[in-house]
């Protein structure tokens, strides 16, 4: 799709950026100590910290990714919301207070508080870096993806822009400015998501969401043998048929524009249904619905094909309450789109065909995750593994854990976690309404599910679109700032000061942290540019799986098993990183989506490693700890 840059969106974004840069400059004068740089002096109010937690945690993956997934696959996208939120329970009940009690600046401090082990310092710092980089890349790629349609800049400019702003925020005032940027961003995200949801409910459901909505066309056709030979509308000429498995597509030509249609029904009642298509021609041209991109024929989609409200079939419902909105969708029928690719002579064709889906199916699991139709043992195991990783990953993310050191006490750590759960939980409930809203208001760009939330906002007006677009940028800024603080702490505090034992004054430690932040920020910019086009959900999933496998077993066992040794913790972290990364790199998804190889060639038939790598982390820690009991006791 072609997007036009909105001056208002640019204006709001520039205003936001200027305000956070001013804020950072203001706090820079107050950030002279390492305690100030890494932990905001430990003086942040618990309520501010709670919202900053939300700003830190609700990344582009949560806002753009989940809304997009719900808009395309219904309830299955909401499963991410449930899993991500449930993970905070582990953080509150098990991790929050002890981590605050034992740690100082980084998660490594807490793990190492009673051992003083070089092994823990090295492995925990590496784990922090691996998880942070896995999380950073999708944020930077997302920044580039956003800047192209919304500000009219090339992808790399978006990455550099976000990278430069975040480096300034972190390198000037460290955790203090990062906290307030996250607080502002978290607050704005929740407030404007609420407003967007209210708009969705006030609009209700409609067969034709707006006057400009492109209603999909159906044409009766003549089938002779197994080939479409002509259509009722004489302005179209049949120029090709393609059949594979149970699918039959036909190519029609009208005034030199070739479009693809899906053949449905049986003779003599054959109907051709309009599709959306992208043709990559042998000469390098890319055609959208048969024409150049500039012609803007690749229209937005998404609507109900049948609406049943209070037992009656209607064309529109008017405003609905939240429960009524969901129950009406459940009784209605929605047009979803299914993608197919094939070769037509020398052209590569990608087609999205209409797939009318009952509301009942949209609002229960099964459209994305194979737990119902076509499910087998491995697909169910994959689903369970994903839900486990989401549940246990949150409380092991280093950039989340360091936020426990910014409040004055363990009690404040607990209270701020509860505020975070309230704010994040509320936002995740809204994602269901925003995602379904996009699905039903013609707000889907079939090329990019990530644009569903901004396009939904655009449906309700340019002002809301501009604000939501600016917030989407702010979302990236807030999360990236937190990640860079975590990664710079791992380098400067854990590796240089701790592992390498370099003696530094307090001011030198702050300088080392700032230099590390610049270094990590530059690496993030380079990776963000190099990884353009990479699947961002894949990388976020990877970060959660590595965090849950490498970090959580150590945290839990340190708290609840007295025989835990430093070698057990270090070994568990190494095994957790290697097994989770190894399984992902050898999984069917990586083979198919990243390497471009057949999925069946993958040596491990599992996409989500949690169900294997998390228990393996615990087992390793227990075995190594038991084997090193005497040594550790002697030492």
């Amino acid at each position: 799709m072609i997007y036009t840059a909105s001056p208002l969106a640019i204006g709001i974004f520039v205003a936001f950026v200027l305000s956070v840069l001013t804020l950072s400059s203001y706090f820079a004068k107050k950030t002279q100590s390492s305690k100030g740089y890494y932990a905001a002096g430990g003086t942040i109010h618990w309520a501010v910290n709670g919202i900053a937690f939300a700003g830190d945690y609700l990344s582009a993956a949560s806002f753009l990714g989940i809304c997009g997934m719900i808009a395309f696959d219904g309830y299955d996208g909401f499963l991410y919301s449930i899993g991500y939120l449930a993970g905070w329970v582990v953080a509150l009940f098990v991790v929050a207070e002890p981590l605050k009690r034992f740690g100082k600046y980084t998660f490594t401090d807490a793990l190492n508080y009673k051992f003083g082990s070089k092994g823990i310092q090295l492995t925990a710092a590496i784990s922090t870096l691996v998880v942070s980089v896995c999380y950073l890349i999708p944020q930077m790629v997302g920044a580039g993806d956003l800047v192209t349609p919304l500000l009219g800049l090339p992808h790399y400019m978006g990455v550099i822009l976000v990278g430069a702003i975040v480096i300034f925020i972190v390198a000037t005032a460290g955790m203090t400015s990062t906290t307030y940027v996250q607080f502002i961003k978290g607050g704005l995200l929740i407030v404007f998501s609420t407003i967007l949801t209210i708009y969705v409910l006030r609009h209700g459901l409609s067969l034709k969401p707006s006057d400009s909505f492109h209603s999909l066309v159906s044409i009766p056709a003549v089938l002779e043998g197994d080939t479409i030979t002509s259509v009722e509308d004489s302005s179209y000429q049949v120029t090709g048929n393609y059949k594979k498995d149970n699918l039959h597509f036909v190519k029609l030509d009208k005034q030199g524009i070739a479009t693809w249609w899906h053949v449905t029904g049986t003779a003599p009642n054959v109907i051709l249904k309009e599709t959306l298509s992208i043709t990559k021609a042998a000469d390098g041209r890319v055609l959208y619905n048969g024409d150049l991109k500039q012609a803007q024929k690749f229209f937005q989609v998404g609507n109900a094909s049948k609406i049943v409200h209070n037992g009656k079939e209607v064309s529109e419902t008017g405003p609905l309450g939240p429960f009524e909105y969901l129950s009406t969708i459940e009784q209605s029928e929605i047009i979803r789109f299914t993608k197919s690719t094939f070769q037509d002579a020398n052209d590569k064709i990608t087609i999205w065909r209409q797939n009318p889906t009952s509301g009942k199916e949209v609002l229960r699991p099964g459209l994305k995750f194979k737990v119902d139709k076509g499910a087998d043992f491995m697909s169910r195991l994959n689903f369970v593994s994903l839900m486990i990783a989401l549940f246990f990953g949150t409380s092991a993310l280093p950039h989340i854990l360091i936020r426990y050191y910014t409040v004055p006490s363990a009690r404040d750590a607990r209270k701020s976690t509860i505020v975070a759960i309230g704010a994040i939980g509320f936002f995740y409930i809204l994602t269901l309404f925003m995602g379904l809203g996009a699905m039903l208001t013609g707000s889907l760009d079939l090329e990019s599910s990530n644009m569903s939330a901004p396009l939904l906002a655009k449906f309700f007006g340019i002002i809301l679109f501009s604000i939501i677009s600016a917030i989407a940028f702010a979302t990236v800024l807030g999360t990236v700032a937190g990640l860079i603080v975590a990664a710079s702490g791992a380098v400067a505090h854990d590796l240089i000061t701790g592992f390498m034992g370099k003696k530094m004054t307090d001011r030198e430690q702050v300088r080392a942290g700032k230099i590390s932040a610049v270094g990590v920020g530059c690496i993030a910019i380079i990776l963000g540019i190099l990884c353009k086009g990479m699947n961002v959900s894949f990388l976020v999933g990877l970060a959660f799986a590595v965090a849950a496998s490498a970090n959580l077993p150590s945290i839990i066992m340190l708290l609840f098993w007295k025989k835990t040794t430093s070698k057990g913790i270090a070994a568990s972290i190494v095994v957790g990183i290697l097994t989770s990364l190894g399984i992902i790199l050898l999984s069917p998804s990586t083979y198919g989506d990243i390497y471009g190889l057949p999925r069946s060639a993958a040596p491990i038939p599992l996409d989500n490693p949690g169900i294997i790598s998390i228990p393996l982390g615990y087992i390793t820690l227990i075995i190594v700890s038991l084997l090193t009991q005497k040594k550790s006791q002697t030492s």
């Binding site: 100082k104 229960r364 699991p365 499910a375 363990a410 009690r411």
Partner: protein, 96 residues
């Protein structure tokens, strides 16, 4: 290198109580969450059954898990705060 926390506080006599309570609540939530996963895997069609306010089980259970986390968090904080006041009261300035 081993060092203390970023901020100082006194002895927290309520710590064992809070840790025990946290584990019990965590186990309870785990069981509810596990129930959600099991129904999805074993009987996904059950998730489509209408249960309350016209919502199906999938939506009701999903919202329920989110709301339960918030409610349990508030209860946990209330109980911990009460125990902290009870056991740490003589110390006065205890902030943990």
């Amino acid at each position: 290198m081993s060092h203390g926390p970023a901020t100082k506080w006194g002895e927290d006599n309520a710590s064992p109580y809070k840790a025990r309570l946290g584990v019990y609540l965590f186990i309870f939530y785990c069981l509810v969450y596990a129930g959600f996963i099991v129904i999805n895997v074993v009987s996904p069609k059950t998730m489509g059954v209408s249960v309350i306010f016209g919502l199906n089980l999938a939506c009701a259970y999903g919202f329920g898990l989110i709301l339960l986390a918030i409610i349990m968090g508030i209860i946990y904080n209330h109980m911990c705060g009460k125990k902290e006041r009870e056991l740490n009261a003589p110390a006065g300035g205890d902030r943990s």
